[in-house]
């Protein structure tokens, strides 16, 4: 209608054309949200418990970080085994504000009864003692300087993972570290970060981590049923936005160049593209999205501790994407949702034990073995993962539509003559 609306239309159209999965994905996600709304305690019949809503909301966040993983691995070809570090950092960044602001309210309430009004310094000390008492400190570490500001901590959600990825990526890509060496380097990064956070003097409460994150400061009157559905919606919105963002990045010429780098980076250099800049862009962008996913995840989980940044977490992430099917965005979402939900079912004791007479298979112990075997089998026999099933369905539909009359590949080959 308006002139301003004109140029954006073809872009949107092309995005949908190049990536038909976008419309499908958004439709399915919307349906899922409607279903959950109808069944949630706060908005519907209450058939789904609050903890179930939280599990679903957390799963959406895991889908978002899996999308990021798919872009950096499946499209850009960097097998990063450190993206859960960025996820964890996003969680810590928002957790600092949640913990600070809530403790501040509690401290203010308890000091209000004192005869002499407390000075700001006294309030500050009381908050510090509350938060850092468990690690034997009553001082705020320097990294908590902005913890009283929601806006600044939200900026940290983006800035901390972004900066770490930028510096790490710059050092690694500049020296042209690739392949398995790069993967090991990313593992070393997340391991180092996790070990550092485990220390009591890391400034983030050592192995206690940050807790009570499900309680939103100043919103004590709002029950968890409402909070959980709000976070569920926020997670769904973030996942939708992430899907659109990555569909845009991986389509068009950018998608072309990054897939070309994945397949033959030396050749792309001779076309004049500065390969390292592209890798750095994708690595940093996906790290930022991982951070945002983490910032939505941990308030629903309620607690974050350094174990969340352990190397194994990032390996699981790669396993989800591999099982779901890398190199296609919906594959990552399917993999993360399917495997993480299945995982909590098995490890949560949901799966019945199998009595073999001589031995009882307890899934809480054997689930990891099952996951490992599935991973190996997928990698060997179904490299397209669960997402590959969509290809099978599409191929069947296409066959039914076209019949046997169209030219097959052999017919096309016969037409290839010498260029005229």
């Amino acid at each position: 209608m308006s002139v301003a609306a004109m140029p954006s239309r073809p872009v949107r159209k092309r995005l949908l054309e190049a990536n038909p999965s976008v419309a499908w994905f958004l439709a399915i996600l919307a349906l899922f949200c409607l279903g959950v709304t109808a069944l949630a305690e706060a908005t519907g019949t209450g058939a789904l418990s609050t903890s179930m809503i939280k599990t679903l909301g957390k799963t959406l966040c895991l889908c978002l970080v899996a999308l990021a993983m798919d872009v950096v691995w499946g499209y850009q070809g960097i097998l990063s085994l450190g993206h859960m570090a960025f996820f964890g950092l996003g969680g810590y960044a928002i957790g600092m504000w949640l913990m600070y602001a809530r403790t501040e309210i509690i401290v203010a309430e308890s000091l209000a009864e004192a005869a002499i009004p407390p000075t700001p310094a006294e309030i500050e000390d009381a908050i510090a003692t509350q938060i850092f008492g468990v690690v034997g400190s009553d001082q705020f570490p320097a990294i908590w300087a902005f913890a009283d500001s929601l806006v600044l901590q939200l900026a940290m959600v983006v800035a901390v993972p972004g900066l770490l990825a930028l510096v790490f990526g710059w050092l690694a890509f500049r020296s042209r570290v690739t392949g398995v060496y790069l993967s090991i380097l990313t593992q070393a990064m997340t391991l180092a970060l996790s070990l550092y956070l485990f220390q009591n003097d890391s400034g983030l409460r050592g192995n206690n981590g940050l807790s009570g994150l499900q309680n939103l400061p100043g919103l004590d009157a709002v029950d968890q049923a409402t909070v959980s559905i709000a976070f569920f919606y926020a997670s769904a919105a973030a996942l939708a936005a992430g899907y659109l963002l990555f569909a845009w990045v991986t389509s068009g010429k950018m998608g072309s160049v990054i897939r070309a780098i994945r397949d033959d980076e030396a050749r792309v250099r001779f076309l004049g593209y500065h390969v390292e800049s592209y890798k750095l862009f994708v690595f940093t962008l996906t790290a930022v999205v991982a951070g945002i996913a983490g910032a939505l995840y941990y308030p629903q989980a309620g607690i974050i501790n350094p174990a969340e940044l352990a190397p194994i977490a990032s390996i699981y992430l790669a396993v989800w994407v591999a099982i779901g099917g890398r190199g296609r965005l919906y594959g990552a979402v399917i993999g993360a949702a399917f495997v993480s939900l299945l995982s909590s079912w098995f490890t949560g004791g949901g799966a019945p034990d199998v009595d073999l007479g001589v031995y009882t298979i307890r899934w809480t112990d054997w689930w990891l073995v099952l996951l490992g075997v599935s991973f190996v089998l997928t990698t060997l026999y179904a490299p397209k993962g669960l997402g590959g099933l969509i290809d099978v369905i599409e191929a069947r539909r296409a066959r039914r539509r076209v019949g046997d009359y169209g030219p097959d590949k052999g017919a096309l080959r016969r037409e290839e003559g010498p260029p005229q």
Partner: protein
């Protein structure tokens, strides 16, 4: 004809083996130059040095009116300076369509943020159509490059080179795996391009080189053995001994 590329006194050693030995070559603009020599003479390594893939131990490589040194530049920066390269083994992006392969090579801004918001203009579309016509792949634009025949991949790679509009084209054994008709078309095309640009062609096939009708440089053990017209070099005693007389 002014000098566009000057390689002087360049040497490269791989694990003690001297692949390029005090090599000096000048290429003018416009010029068509054929480089011949037996296997292992250092022809591909010469291209590796010019395009920044291999750093020489000694010597200078200068480029353009201002004689800037290419030795400090990265591969991508050298390509952006206007040096395009076709590899001996055709390397196209097989998973992507012919059209995407060409679009990626077009002479547009290569910075990530520019590429992110890039949208094909009419000029771009016209250029892709023109190149596709030139390389005879108009009917195959939508096909994945991996489905093309060997000869067609060679053509696509030449097309990607054309789309870049470089000032200097380095073409490594373009006619390998081509039919006689395709070879003839290749010589015509190279000659046409060389009317306005510098083109260096490495080729084994003497007939092919003869048809190019240009100055020939014979490489042997990493340095220039002879240089001149095809008749001049084929009459050269040393050339006959090491190369033609085998």
């Amino acid at each position: 004809m002014t000098t566009l590329l000057e390689v002087s006194g360049v040497s490269v050693t791989f694990d003690g083996f001297r692949a390029i030995d005090n090599l000096s070559i000048q290429i003018g603009e416009p010029e068509l130059r054929a480089v011949i020599g037996p296997n292992g003479a250092g022809k591909t390594t010469f291209m590796d040095i010019v395009t920044g893939k291999t750093r020489p131990d000694t010597g200078r490589v200068t480029w353009g009116e201002r004689s800037i040194s290419l030795l400090g530049l990265s591969e991508s920066a050298i390509a952006r300076e206007g040096i395009g390269r076709k590899f001996q083994k055709p390397t196209v992006f097989e998973a992507q369509s012919v059209r995407d392969n060409l679009a990626m090579s077009l002479r547009n801004d290569r910075a990530p943020w520019k590429v992110l918001v890039w949208r094909e203009t009419e000029a771009d579309a016209a250029r892709i159509a023109e190149v596709a016509e030139e390389i005879g792949l108009t009917a195959h634009l939508a096909r994945p490059a991996g489905e093309l025949s060997h000869g067609q991949k060679q053509w696509l790679e030449i097309g990607m080179l054309l789309a870049q509009e470089p000032r200097l084209l380095l073409v490594d054994e373009p006619a390998a795996g081509m039919t006689p008709a395709e070879r003839e078309h290749t010589t015509d095309l190279l000659k046409r391009i060389a009317a306005t640009r510098a083109v260096v062609v490495v080729e084994h096939d003497m007939e092919f080189v003869r048809r190019l009708g240009c100055k020939v440089t014979v490489l042997h053990e990493g340095s220039v053995l002879a240089e001149g017209s095809i008749d001049h070099v084929t009459a050269d005693r040393q050339v006959i001994d090491v190369y033609l007389g085998r």
